[in-house]
Symmetry: C2
Subunit: 309 residues, 2 copies
DNA sequence: ATTGTCTATACTCAGTTTGAGCATATGTTG
DNA sequence: CAACATATGCTCAAACTGAGTATAGACAAT
């Protein structure tokens, strides 16, 4: 059990801060949308978590509802050849409430600027058929062996829902990594020396886009078994607003009636009284999140066939 | 976006290496079961993941099936007052196959030595009723306010399945943290200055037991939606062996017929030919994991009510 | 005032999945 | 061969899901 002090190592925190405003999921960025906010490890006071929380709240002047650790990146070649020093990046995912105006420094950009192929709310986005699928086919064909060719084809089909495979919104990270491997995103081309290469979707510095992909995948998975959507909602909301928020995150449209049945039978919301008039059509009742359920129930998707109740 | 070099920081890797042998889940330890194996960050070559993998395989002389990052701990007071230097620990969860004999240095200890309250395969373990529940009640009663008292009672009941609440095997970490907070485990007492205090379950150094709890919780959750059990099984096995392995991890018994129905309809296994004679009763067919499903299907528990197929 | 157009909300219904058992098959041991 | 022990097949009702249809309550244009 060797436990020696390491050589000096650079440790950064990187935050993926998400919010849904106007039906669009957004992420907080710096440098005109080319980077995620990050800072040195010092800012952590008592704990990483608390330090990051203070820092974000100071920056956005807005309370941060939810914060969870995402992943720690430490691969040697992460940032490309440019950095000789060893860097560790601890990334976090935070959820913020819809805000009308955020103070100065914060810029918010839509998720789907970076991942145009991830938004399937209006059906499969054209970029898949026009750009990605052909490029992925080329990449598959370029494989050295027959086995590898077929393997690549299968990966592409499964990830992107080609050849009749179903779209799976949780595979955001795998899709990005596939595009990276296939040289279809600028980050890879850049690493190969093509400085000004264009690629699919908007690029970010270093591996920030990969971190964002990790965050999206995590949130899309989590939204299904934990009541985290409410962290993104104002105190009261209509069921349709709630549904639109979930749809924005998942990048898919949901069945309205079944969605509200689900909300009701899970007792996640309760009527807050009143209704919206802002919208066309019959006014919708306002609801609020039942905070009590977090206490009452221990959320966990039991799927094991247990014996004897 | 300040990006400055940190002060010198110690970075360790900590591995939670799990295996199931003889129907018992075990974890690899060092120091006679009082610590998890850990090492300095240097051992990471190309990537954290690969470095840790090499190191473990060299240590155990056994291939490591599965490895995933668990959590990065960096709280200032993690290890108690003893360490002034800032330490970051990146923890990993690895799964190893059942092994007859492991080489020298490796010791394996049963999970449930450290968490006796987590094994419900023979019903709720007595330690809950005899020791933990009373201690938790005392702790709840000691709360300063009425609201806090009731809150503590509710947390205890929900975590430990008291007062008619259902047992939820995924709450391993929350339970440990509750016991820590309530001063029922030795690690907490030790931090408070009671050097030789006895507590529930076997203690470990620093926060290693908390890391183990994190690993157990993660694995118990993951086993339900990803085919990771097979990483713990020999190449061929009977369905009952498979079930026992899941039961060992979950700490609960499963309904036999429904378990095999699940395995079959998910097409996770295929007959390998032959049968066991080692067991009493009618010989069971041998099965093997269908590696193909990993390729075929993109595992993800869709639970959203999607619109229009 | 009537009609059309929205969106909200209620209800239906068949197909599937789950939880819980019963029944039968096929070995070994005495 | 009987007694046991495990394996494996099958049933059945309750709960859950996917996909609609139907009705209600608001506003705007005719």
């Amino acid at each position: 059990m060797p436990k020696s002090a390491s050589r000096s190592v650079v440790v950064d925190l990187i935050a993926v801060l998400a919010a849904v405003t106007g039906g669009e999921p957004r992420v907080m960025t710096v440098e005109h949308g080319s980077a995620l906010p990050s800072g040195p490890f010092e800012l952590a006071h008592r704990s990483l978590q608390q330090g990051l929380r203070d820092w974000v709240e100071q920056r956005t002047h807005h309370p941060l509802g939810y914060l969870e650790q995402l992943y720690t990146f430490a691969d040697k070649d992460r940032a490309g050849a440019e950095s000789a020093a060893r860097t560790i990046s601890i990334s976090y995912l935070g959820l913020a409430r819809e805000q009308a105006a955020t103070a100065g420094a914060a810029e918010w950009h839509g998720w789907y600027e970076y991942f145009p192929w991830e938004d399937h709310r209006d059906g499969p986005p054209p970029v898949i058929a026009t750009t990605l699928a052909p490029a992925l086919v080329d990449w598959a064909e370029a494989a050295p062996s027959v086995a590898e060719r077929s393997h690549r084809r299968q990966r592409a089909a499964l990830s992107f829902g080609l050849d009749g495979a179903a779209w799976n919104e949780e595979l955001t990270l795998q899709r990005y990594e596939l595009l990276f491997e296939a040289g279809i995103v600028a980050e890879r081309l850049r690493r190969e020396g093509h400085a000004e290469a264009a690629g699919a979707g908007r690029a970010m510095i270093a591996d920030h886009r990969r971190i964002l992909a990790t965050a999206i995948a995590r949130l899309r998975a989590k939204i299904k078994y934990r009541p985290v959507v409410f962290e993104l909602m104002p105190p009261t909301f209509t069921l349709l607003q709630l549904q639109r928020c979930v749809e924005a995150i998942a990048g898919r449209t949901l069945h309205k009636q079944n969605f509200r049945r689900l909300m009701e039978q899970q007792e996640l919301v309760e009527e807050a009284g009143g209704a919206t008039t802002e919208t066309l059509g019959r006014p919708a009742k306002l609801f609020r999140f039942r905070h009590a359920v977090v206490e009452e129930r221990a959320f966990a998707g039991t799927k094991l066939p247990l014996a004897r109740s």
